[in-house]
Symmetry: C2
């Protein structure tokens, strides 16, 4: 934690996680009066109209990664409608980034507000000419949604640049402490313009094997999920620690899993102590998502917090995919019961806005313009995040997602019992709907599920990851299981 | 250019710049019926209400770089209105990023359209599930606005990440050619996961001293404008060539300036030939903006094009600040009469959307998912850019800006003649309103101009840069000159 490098460190109270108020209410699907009752697939996917649209698009934009083409105006709630009129239950949700269902009526109201229109046409350079509403938008939105203990934010545009801004904060913090009040030296000022030490120090960020933190040059240097993301791109010489490879079901492998976590912790400690480029911060996902839905125990993360605090290394928790409710807590790291909060928490995706939270003035650079750019985020998306957070609170969607997740997990356990060779290493118990399993014939299962009206995603080498929205309910879970079982049995 | 490394390079026709159709019409200010007639300043800036708002904001967001707080709903056209009711003529325009005036009525219509609202609440992962309208939005917007010869685009979020995507395209292109059809080797696949060669090659991007290309880790490694942007941030060991330091007025220093450009070209060539980390691409701004409004001749840029083409190095033109009309061409590089277009052109700011244009299929990676991320741009901003481009064409704003720029430049020349010690090195003749000069007492002049009702910006160590919007007219130029002269004389 921040204060450890300095003498006279102030102590922070034990962190007990964010308190969630449970409100009894109607089901969330009451919001979507026109949500389809079930999937309906009439053509191959992509069908002829989707294919024609992709052919046209291919001339000006690379389409090789595209699944199908969507008529977004026809999508409602949990259902996505493709350009051929096929209706699919969407448990992928734009790579886990749609929070409250397609064409959510409350969010459409916000999109129709005068504030939103002004934010779109009068986009400010926030760092120079903020709107008179900016403090209010932050306080009633991004900061109201902040993890407990976090009182400040730096806004950005995507998860990838949010992580890079957090890295920059860590490097500046570290060197500022080492400088101990001294001004920049002439040598620093000249060497940095040549990208050389000491002005551009060879410091590092530690990440974990299998982790994904974005694809810009700094964030990609911490991403370790798949080679295809990284090949041919220059990278910084930064360390990667092993992330636990747990065996499932957890209750049958408690001792082996504990030993595996100890092995990873010991190697992390060794890297922090010995990496030639001093480690300014460690970054970790609560659940490695792109890397294959890899979990670790709360105790593992508590140990990371203790280890980084003891060494004066900052701890950045990347909640870009796990944040905003899907794990059954608003922020996934609330599951850990940490002794002190992380130093920074990054967010994007379902928040629609992006940035990092911090809790200590020491993470503001000592001088202005060190963390600065033209736009510094997007007020339009900050308005949207405020509306998302309000709606999540109003409908109790975090608690609902925890409930629905338990229901879905139970159904998947039963499915795995019926088809043990097809549903392996089920994981995500008590993590809301943030559930995954391994599938030996994954590509076939995904294709058949899609043909059956279920859009789901993959992660890692063989995982199927479920990333439904926060308005996903028991009735949707039933449909998902039915389609999945049919796909598996084919 | 692309084909030079390969045998059998196809030849491209000589590039004559984009043809602009001049349309006779009413003045652009007829669009803003409620634009204030002149500035009106009642309080110090920031005034008491702005200060109170900044104090509140400071608790949750770093405010040290902020000028004043704005009531955007009260701003119209070229005038910005602060939270104390002060009305200023805005010739800075949110760091050159507002194209068509505050609360532009046509853009407000677009913000109010069903398409925009859908784009806001149903934000797609474009690379996986594009909207059925995406091809049309690109073809009638971003690509209609593209520089001549550019038929493809990769969208992003900001100028900084647009440049990084262009760098990645260059690195992948280079290594793919060297690989010559072979698959990735096991050594590449394993080394890249450790951020090591050969999978993560030590290749480089050449930029110019004084250049600014963004502040993420890759783009910051090419930024060479100010130390404060770079200090304490690790950087890649990439080369920087000198950028010409021209003497003004140009007509009095033709021989010295030509020699200076030759010196810089020779050093660029030497770096391209000798830098230990092979140079995949060169990136250059048409006018170095953040670095102090540094110009070079069209001949200089033609030579860069020839040099890079001959060496199989890609040429990226960073039009983030110069693009979208302010120089009197839609794209500033149209002033150069290049023998062949650049390989990539990056854009953001006044386009509101961001990304890079390219013209050759070879800049699409050989495999999908190599240039990929969750959102891959923002359809909401692509809709806005389409509206901006349509409005620029409808009102002939590029041609108008060229005219107004000539008028403004003439006025500044006269001002410099009256106050030769205060207005030095005037530059930007025939570059629309993209004009700057050096001011020995810059901070005082800027403060007095602001007190007089004129918001203008600084760049480099001593430049004042004018970055009015495309709806800036002769009458606004008159007001600007009056306030500036008063500020200078004080």
């Amino acid at each position: 934690m921040l204060s450890s490098v300095r003498a006279g460190a102030r102590r922070l109270p034990r962190y007990a996680g964010k308190v969630q108020v449970v409100r009894p209410m109607a089901t969330a699907s009451s919001v979507f009066h026109n949500e389809p009752p079930k999937p309906a697939v009439q053509t191959a996917i992509p069908g002829p109209r989707s294919k024609a649209a992709l052919e046209k698009l291919e001339k000006v934009f690379d389409t090789r990664s595209m699944n199908f083409v969507v008529d977004y105006d026809k999508c409602h709630g949990n259902y996505i409608v493709d350009h051929d009129g096929n209706v699919l239950l969407d448990a992928f949700a734009q790579i886990a980034s749609i929070p409250l269902g397609y064409n959510n009526p409350r969010l459409l109201e916000i999109a129709d507000s005068p504030q939103m229109k002004s934010a779109i046409v009068n986009r400010p350079a926030i760092g120079a000419f903020p709107s008179s509403e900016w403090a209010d938008v932050l306080e009633t939105g991004l900061l109201k949604a902040a993890p407990k203990g976090f009182s400040q934010v730096l806004t950005s545009m995507t998860g990838s640049d949010a992580n890079e801004l957090a890295f920059k904060a860590a490097f500046i913090w570290r060197r500022t402490q080492e400088r101990d009040g001294a001004e920049f030296t002439p040598e620093e000022l000249s060497s940095v313009m040549k990208n050389q030490e000491p002005g551009a120090p060879k410091y590092s960020i530690l990440s974990f094997e299998g982790g994904f933190h974005g694809r810009l040059f700094g964030s990609l240097s911490t991403t370790r999920s798949k080679a295809i993301h990284k090949l041919d791109i220059p990278a910084f010489d930064w360390p990667a620690a092993p992330f636990p490879k747990l065996q499932y079901p957890l209750e049958d492998h408690a001792a082996a899993n504990a030993a595996e976590e100890e092995r990873c912790l010991a190697e992390t400690e060794r890297l922090l102590a010995s990496w030639p480029q001093p480690v300014a911060a460690l970054i970790v996902e609560p659940i490695q998502s792109e890397g294959g839905d890899n979990h670790a125990s709360p105790a593992f993360f508590r140990r990371l917090r203790e280890m980084t605090a003891a060494r004066g290394v900052l701890m950045i928790v990347d909640e870009v995919q796990t944040g905003v409710g899907a794990t059954g807590k608003f922020w996934a790291h609330e599951h850990w019961d940490l002794p002190t909060p992380p130093d920074m928490v990054t967010f994007s995706k379902k928040a629609q806005a992006a940035g990092f939270y911090y809790r200590d003035d020491a993470l503001r650079p000592d001088k202005p313009y060190r963390q600065y750019n033209t736009w510094m985020g997007d007020p339009a998306r900050a308005l949207l995040f405020r509306g998302i957070h309000d709606e999540v609170a109003r409908l109790g969607l975090v608690e609902r997602t925890a409930e629905v997740g338990r229901y879905l997990y139970g159904k998947l356990e039963a499915l795995a019992a019926r088809h043990p060779g097809e549903v392996q290493n089920l994981r995500g118990r008590d993590r809301g709907t943030f559930i995954a399993f391994d599938s030996p014939r994954r590509e076939q299962v995904l294709a058949r599920a899609k043909a059956g009206g279920l859009n789901i995603g993959a992660s890692g080498d063989r995982a199927i990851r479920l990333r439904p929205m926060l308005v996903f309910e028991e009735k949707h879970a039933d449909i998902l299981i039915d389609i999945l079982e049919t796909a598996i049995k084919q």
